[in-house]
């Protein structure tokens, strides 16, 4: 090993500075929004809030907590996420298992049917008309069904199933288990890791989604919390209310926005340390096999 040159040591220093900046820039908005959510409105407006709450109070949290619409929408998010994830897991697991059977006649076609949809999709308008014509509007199915299979997740799961030893399944078959039995009693118990990963993938994506609900739900009490937050943002930034009289109003909106952002992001931030590693390995698996 050659001793690092002087210029390389300089580079190491510069590199450290750059990466520190990256970390600061990434984290600052979170810290700031958290500080704002606990701050007094006067202090926010005066620009005193940077990293730490100024004029500490919980008033805004109380206002949001007392808003029954917020809680209903929060509950909707939980409900939509659970139903959608269950539907997605059932369909994805079934199809991934079928696709993992190398001897299956027509397997190539079945794979092709799925993969083609990664490159070409119907577009917003035909999808909108379809969901409307099927009468799915204003129900959880408008969110769950059109997004029931993510082809990326499907390919990750298929790759995992393919890596399982075939001898176990053959033995189970000789013991008289049907295909359904093999899937439920042999394959799935061996696949806890990939099942957990897929559940995480789907849960995070359904928790974060807003556009399907925004498109297909007509009443505010059917909205998920992401749309609640979107409406707060849109209300406070719409070009229409740029007038002077609304300064007070948008200020109130700003601290409520901060609290709503914090509460909506909270579940994701809490599971993030556990989720992150799964996601990273899943993405790499998908990239290699996909």
């Amino acid at each position: 090993m050659v001793k690092p040159s002087r210029s390389y040591r300089v580079f190491q220093g510069v590199n450290g500075v750059i990466l520190t900046l990256v970390v600061l820039v990434t984290l600052y908005p979170f810290v700031n929004i958290l500080a704002r959510s606990f701050s007094g409105e006067r202090q926010i407006r005066a620009g005193e809030v940077a990293l730490w709450p100024k004029g500490f109070n919980l008033t805004t949290y109380r206002i949001v907590f007392q808003d029954s619409m917020f809680w209903r929408n929060y509950g909707n998010t939980v409900f939509y996420t659970v139903v959608s994830t269950v539907v997605a897991m059932v369909l994805t697991t079934c199809y991934a298992y079928v696709l993992s059977k190398k001897h299956l006649r027509g397997r190539g076609l079945l794979v092709g049917i799925a993969v083609f949809t990664m490159f070409f999709t119907g577009g917003l308008i035909p999808n909108y008309l379809l969901v409307t014509h099927l009468g799915l509007k204003n129900s959880v199915w408008a969110i769950a069904l059109p997004n029931a299979i993510s082809v990326f997740n499907l390919l990750v799961m298929k790759a995992f199933f393919e890596s399982l030893p075939t001898e176990l399944e053959e033995a189970a078959q000789i013991d008289g288990l049907s295909t359904y039995g093999i899937l439920l009693r042999i394959v799935l118990p061996l696949s806890k890791a990939v099942v957990a990963t897929m559940v995480l993938f789907y849960t995070v994506s359904f928790w974060n989604s807003w556009f399907s609900a925004f498109l297909y739900m007509d009443h505010s009490d059917l909205m998920p919390v992401t749309v609640y937050l979107r409406n707060l943002i849109a209300g406070a930034t719409g070009g229409g209310n740029a007038g002077a009289g609304t300064a007070e109003l948008s200020q109130v909106g700003a601290s409520i926005q901060a609290v709503t952002i914090v509460l909506t992001a909270l579940p994701i931030i809490c599971v993030y340390p556990f989720v992150q590693r799964f996601f990273v390995s899943g993405v790499m698996l998908g990239a290699v096999k996909g």
């Binding site: 908005p29 620009g47 027509g106 078959q173």
Partner: protein, 326 residues
């Protein structure tokens, strides 16, 4: 070895795969496959139904771009009108404005969001302390996991007139800027928030590619007298070239579909001159104004350009660097 089958007729829905086989010979092969694997095929029925209804039907549904749509009528429209809607949008000045905006935003996103993860991955790769490296990575992934609504909310809060950016400007003696209302700022805001959200996540594949580079190559380069920079230039970059090309093709392919949801969340009527893109115009024309055929025609145009772009990029890269998606 075959499992016992009670009924001779296959369950409904599984003729699907056989229909696409053109060759005459394997009819009996299919029958045997169905008898042996009917349980497997039955597991595929619901997922296939999903793909047919929610993926392929909308593709066919695009015919509405060439047919007149009646409210309450069929989702495929009532009668043929040929290229009427295509001619309509081609002579629509708003269409050309959103087309230009799409090219601008797509181009800027490509220029900034494609190389930054590569640079970040190279920098991270030079970090010696594993704990530090892992910490920086974990932090930089974080924005990727948040809802786009939260990202938009954070962006708007940071740039609000009473937000941190304006206060920093104020301290430097600068007048406050109404970032959100000024068309001139939209592109910067969009690309900036896109970098903030995606840069860390984008490094994953590059870091994975970096670990697969053979240490011996660096050894050999050192023996040949290459310093750190030359090693990066002659060993590291060629080593991650396939990954770079693959991601470049994918980026080019999504060029036209610039962040629809993010634009929808960040823009407002004041910033339409620079922010309105094809997909947001399609949304407004279709869903908000009920001109479904007109909007579908524009959407189809966008999708076709996207398909042409990704095919061209793929062919070009196969011919020039020998890496391609298919």
């Amino acid at each position: 070895m075959s499992t016992s089958v009670k009924s001779a007729s296959p369950p409904p829905g599984i003729e699907e795969p056989s229909g696409a086989v053109a060759r005459p010979a394997p009819r009996s092969g299919w029958r045997r496959a169905l008898r042996r694997d009917w349980q497997l095929y039955s597991l595929a029925v619901l997922p296939l139904l999903f793909f047919l209804v929610f993926r392929y039907l909308p593709m066919i549904g695009n015919v509405i771009a060439f047919r007149r749509f009646e409210p309450g009528g069929s989702m495929f429209g009532e009668d043929w009108v040929g290229l009427r809607y295509v001619r309509m949008f081609l002579s629509d000045p708003t269409f050309w404005q959103v087309f230009r905006n799409t090219l601008w935003l797509g181009g800027l996103t490509l220029v900034f969001c494609f190389p930054i993860p590569i640079v970040l991955a190279l920098l991270l790769n030079e970090v010696r302390r594993r704990s530090l490296k892992r910490f920086v990575q974990s932090v930089s992934y974080l924005p990727h996991f948040l809802s786009i609504v939260i990202v938009a909310g954070l962006t708007l809060q940071m740039l609000a007139t009473d937000g941190p950016v304006n206060h920093a400007l104020g301290r430097l003696g600068h007048d406050e800027i109404r970032f959100i209302q000024e068309p001139g700022w939209f592109r910067t805001i969009y690309v900036g928030s896109e970098i903030w959200q995606t840069a860390g996540w984008g490094t994953i594949l590059y870091l994975a590619a970096l670990t697969t580079i053979d240490e011996d190559l660096y050894e050999a380069a050192r023996i040949d007298g290459a310093n750190r920079w030359r090693q990066i230039w002659h060993v590291t970059l060629p080593g991650i070239r396939p990954t770079m090309v693959t991601l470049l093709i994918l980026n080019v392919g999504t060029f036209m579909a610039v962040g629809f949801e993010k634009v929808l969340l960040l823009y407002n009527p004041l910033t339409y001159p620079t922010a309105d893109v094809i997909s947001t115009y399609v949304y407004r024309a279709g869903v908000e104004s009920n001109s479904f055929s007109y909007a579908a025609a524009i959407g189809l145009f966008e999708a076709v350009i996207g398909l042409v772009l990704i095919t061209t990029a793929n062919t070009l890269s196969r011919r020039t660097v020998g890496t391609s998606l298919w």
